[in-house]
Symmetry: C2
Subunit: 148 residues, 2 copies
């Protein structure tokens, strides 16, 4: 059945972020759409951001394209040059290699639901506001290379 039975995909708020960077994403509940449906050409997640939650730490990818579609609710997109409100029906795109870090913050009192798609090599990139980098092996390191 191509229609995805979202209710039967277990949402998770798991994160690999070290403390204290994990706290703002504790209210980010993700359903893995690609794994659940057999898609292999790109990744896709159905995300419910609870009030107050962030989509991630503010980041960019060196070699991964991202596209986001807001399904319901609203969230604030934060970047180097300011904030932009995204509402249901809005889309946003981040071509790989754009080092203007981004994330969404749900500053409303209701859930924000979005779908995000990514493809490419997700191992390279960085974080705008904190002393953290992606390492080549999927772990997180300080900007001087020492592990968390």
């Amino acid at each position: 059945m191509p229609k995805i039975d979202l209710e039967n995909i277990e949402p998770t708020n798991r994160t690999g972020y070290p403390e204290p960077f994990d706290k703002p994403v504790a209210g980010r509940w993700q359903r893995p759409l690609a794994e659940a449906t057999g898609l292999t050409e790109f990744g896709a997640r159905h995300v419910t951001l609870k009030p107050g939650a962030w989509s991630s730490q503010r980041h960019w990818h060196d070699n991964e394209d991202e596209l986001l579609v807001v399904v319901s609710g609203e969230a604030v997109l934060v970047e180097d040059d300011g904030q932009t409100l995204l509402r249901a029906g809005d889309c946003a795109a981040w071509p790989k290699g754009t080092t203007n870090g981004h994330h969404l913050r749900n500053e409303s009192g209701s859930d924000c639901v979005f779908v995000v798609v990514g493809a490419g090599d997700c191992t390279g990139g960085g974080y705008s506001d904190i002393d953290m980098l992606f390492s080549g092996d999927g772990r997180y390191v300080h900007k001087d290379g020492t592990p968390y």
Copy 2:
């Protein structure tokens, strides 16, 4: 600006389908999101299906994964084994190589808006209901190989 300015992307109802297969998609207005934003790892289209319009002829891809998110309105997903109503917030996925052809028909009285993402090799595939195939060079041919 990562938020996509949809109003400034010209929608097109252009199709390469030969007559009379072009008629049902005349009310399909597409905005190319990847080309407009610099994404290269996957394709993405923002689609408004006018009442009565189809998303495509019923088809499948041999080597391309597809994911669709309904943003507003509703449409009927048609496949070999029946019909499924898709409403705002619903998602559907078609892993490459699934030969159960699919398309959406807007049988409502209002626009249906969705975003569809695809990645892989889009040259191989077929049509379920009509005498047409994708050719290797992007043109359409009869199932006996003769061109339209």
